[in-house]
Symmetry: C2
Subunit: 328 residues, 2 copies
């Protein structure tokens, strides 16, 4: 089978490999669509704390059972959790003590075939295209973050970053009845996604021109910009929640005054990382219901050979989603 | 009536003043006991963002109706909330948009008489002494923080700081079934409170000798030491909560790596500030049930004339509670 192997940072090669051998409880799948995540681009560029080389990347996967060319599509939860530790038992399978992530610790969807646990297969509604179904993982992460932040109807949400994830967060929160603003320093990004904003009643604001709301009940960062943390914490209403959805790039330091604001205003800084199968099932329902709006987020369908060419622009955070749909 | 007035930082004087005139809905009270909080000492030393001069300090108050020398004791909630704003209506009266705090924005318990809202009077169980009932406010703040942190049975809690508040936090969490450790850099403090630790099954650990638990589900700082934030965040288990119960002193800065740990481990940094009437009612029940253990936290009963003398040691965080019980 054809695979794209990352041997070390910035060293990718197309390789023919034997079929994966499923472990007990696993099934062999044919990958139908695999979207490229910015984390894939980061791993390609510099590695990642959870990545083990050599690796077939890809964790945003839609597949069907191997040898069943007209059968059911499945979105694949990329977590491989033990199911028995205290975190798994408490519904936090994404924090499993012995978590191994597809596309990080084991081979993922940048290859024609994939072995995955039967339990990780989430049936795709029949009206949904495999390219959109591949976005169930990133949208699942957004759904997870909204749950962590306890965003509820009528609350004012401010999202920093108008990339795919920022728009997923904003749209899903709007569906929950929140009053949503989305901020980005790049006017072009906000202009490009105008139709989606209108569809979900999202207010765009340019980070630099003072149009950001003075106060928000919930803030989420879908950007690694350190400014989004300091700026967002200061806009939090008393009792507000800041969801740290993205890690922060660079080595800035944050002053005690900023942290003390969390104390005096009884705010919360809430980390969010990954998603559960339940979050992905919710995401599949949202993708089905708003398929025409979300289709806009798929910029292009590409072949396995094109991945290396598109990675630099993914790394830069330019444009929306590239989805691998051809492995030949 | 006799009052102790803070005219500006470090400028206290005993003054005779006319009786306070209750506003509508308020009643005139005779203060029976008022405990001194470290915040009182900080306000005396340097002022406070919520303090308006000149001021009669004191917000840890037990009182009875004026002219009723054998009647019911009341612990007095020091908040003065509007009761109608969105935060009041959502059960967060302590975050009221127009909050005015007794002993901060209006005169408090370092005076013989006090005017307070009828709604703020919380009946003291008959077996409880007024000195202990005056601790319903600080214990209420501890109860509030445990609620914010969602500490539950079986969880591992690490409290930094073995002063009165640290011991209140640790004891109340132990009553909830948590497995509690308390850390302090000062061995003497931990040794002094050994009986209380035994009574509540709290494990003492010296910050400096490596005896702190490697991992905790919940961490709470009852110290303004910046080290307690960095050290405690690193000990948080995935999915853990750090309750910022105390503001941080000084102007340290906290590196992005520390904040990113909150993201990757799906941790939470949760501010806690003040308490509600409900928290104080819970505190009164705890004080009644564990009166003999908590009595240890009252170091001395003093007169209004002694306050200025004890403030320096309160500021240093040495010893436990001084409670004013004589105003003549």
């Amino acid at each position: 089978m054809n695979t794209l192997v990352l041997r070390k940072p910035r060293c990718l090669s197309i390789e023919s490999r034997p079929e994966p051998q499923p472990f007990p409880g696993e099934v062999l799948l044919t990958v139908v669509a695999c979207a490229i995540c910015r984390t894939d681009a980061v791993m390609w560029w510099q590695g990642h704390r959870d990545l083990v080389f050599p690796r077939v990347l890809g964790h945003e996967i839609c597949a069907r059972r191997h040898g069943d060319p007209v059968g059911q599509y499945y979105a694949v939860w990329p977590g491989n959790a033990c199911g028995t530790c205290s975190r798994c038992r408490s519904g936090n399978e994404h924090l499993c003590q012995s978590m191994r992530i597809t596309g990080f610790h084991r081979d993922g969807g940048f290859g024609e075939l994939l072995s995955a646990s039967e339990k990780n297969l989430l049936p795709v509604p029949s009206a949904l295209s495999p390219e959109l179904a591949a976005l169930a993982e990133p949208l699942g992460c957004a759904v997870h973050a909204l749950g962590r932040s306890r965003v509820s109807a009528g609350e004012r949400l401010l999202v920093y970053g108008a990339g795919t994830l920022g728009l997923f967060l904003a749209s899903s929160a709007s569906v929950r009845g929140a009053k949503v603003s989305i901020a980005d320093p790049d006017p072009e990004k906000l202009i490009k996604s105008r139709d989606l904003q209108r569809c979900f009643n999202i207010s765009p604001c340019f980070t630099s021109d003072g149009s950001l709301p003075q106060e928000a009940d919930v803030v989420i960062n879908a950007t690694s910009s350190p400014d989004a943390l300091a700026d967002g914490l200061e806009r939090l209403a008393p009792g507000g929640r800041y969801c740290l959805f993205s890690g922060l790039r660079g080595h800035d330091a944050y002053p005690a005054e900023l942290i003390n604001g969390i104390h005096y205003r009884e705010a919360e800084l809430i980390g969010s990382y990954g998603c559960t199968r339940h979050d992905m099932r919710q995401a599949l329902l949202l993708l089905e219901q708003y398929a025409s709006a979300f289709s806009f987020l798929i910029k292009q369908r590409i072949g396995l050979h094109d991945v290396e060419r598109v990675l630099p622009s993914v790394l830069e955070g330019k444009g929306f989603k590239s989805v691998i749909t051809s492995y030949s």
